[in-house]
């Protein structure tokens, strides 16, 4: 059992997939509302990757939510987590 559990964990990590949901003005930059990434371990790592992929994000103020909760510091990610990129709200 122990060996199997280890094997599964490793298998899972190496194929870890996260969804990134994109809203508001950020959709103008990404061109789509959702993105998929594999093997991203933290929100900090995601932030850097997004910046490399979409340099225009540099000028955009936004928050990240992990599974619908806004986070304010670097947060570890798990398989199937949903991260949202949230530019300033303008409802009402």
């Amino acid at each position: 059992m122990h060996i199997l559990a280890n094997y599964l964990t490793e298998f899972k990590n190496s194929n870890m997939e996260i969804s990134v949901l994109v809203f508001g003005q950020i959709t103008d930059i990404t061109g789509k509302g959702s993105l998929k990434f594999t093997d991203i371990k933290s929100t900090g790592e995601l932030y850097q990757l997004l910046l490399k992929t979409y340099p225009q994000l540099e000028s955009i103020k936004y928050l990240m939510a992990v599974n619908k909760k806004i986070i304010h510091e670097n947060t570890m990610l798990m398989d199937e987590d949903t991260i949202a990129l949230l530019p300033p709200f303008s409802g009402g």
């Binding site: 949901l21 508001g24 939510a65 949230l86 709200f89 303008s90 409802g91």
Partner: protein
Amino acid sequence: MESKKKHKVFVEGPISPPFIADAIAKHNSKTNIGAHSLFLGQVRNDRVGEQEVVAIEYTSYQEMADDKFYEIREDAFKKFPLICMHIYHSLGLVKSGEISLFVFTSSVHRKEAIAACEWIVERIKNEVPVWGKEILSNETSQWKLNT
């Protein structure tokens, strides 16, 4: 108390005056209510250079927004002695002059309904993931910034 009832907040398109009238009329049977406070957000035709805003298209991160509306609702019932509260927010296109937000609070005395309504509006503006894209008269658009 209806604090446990999770009602639908988002409506497609503008919130119509008859819809608001119905919401008011439904409280006719709640005869312990002495005061209602209503807030209505209406789309303005702001000038943007040579253009003006003809409509706002609202989008949302709905799952998160629904959680947040529920949290605001629960907090409001804890903080204020309300008898009822309702929130309606538009998604999709709302033209200038039309209504996109309707917050409705009811209580025994006026002060609680009024204070709660304002408090809820502030929380919605600050905390609910909704974005407005302003559609201009020349068919270009820009993202709305809340003040």
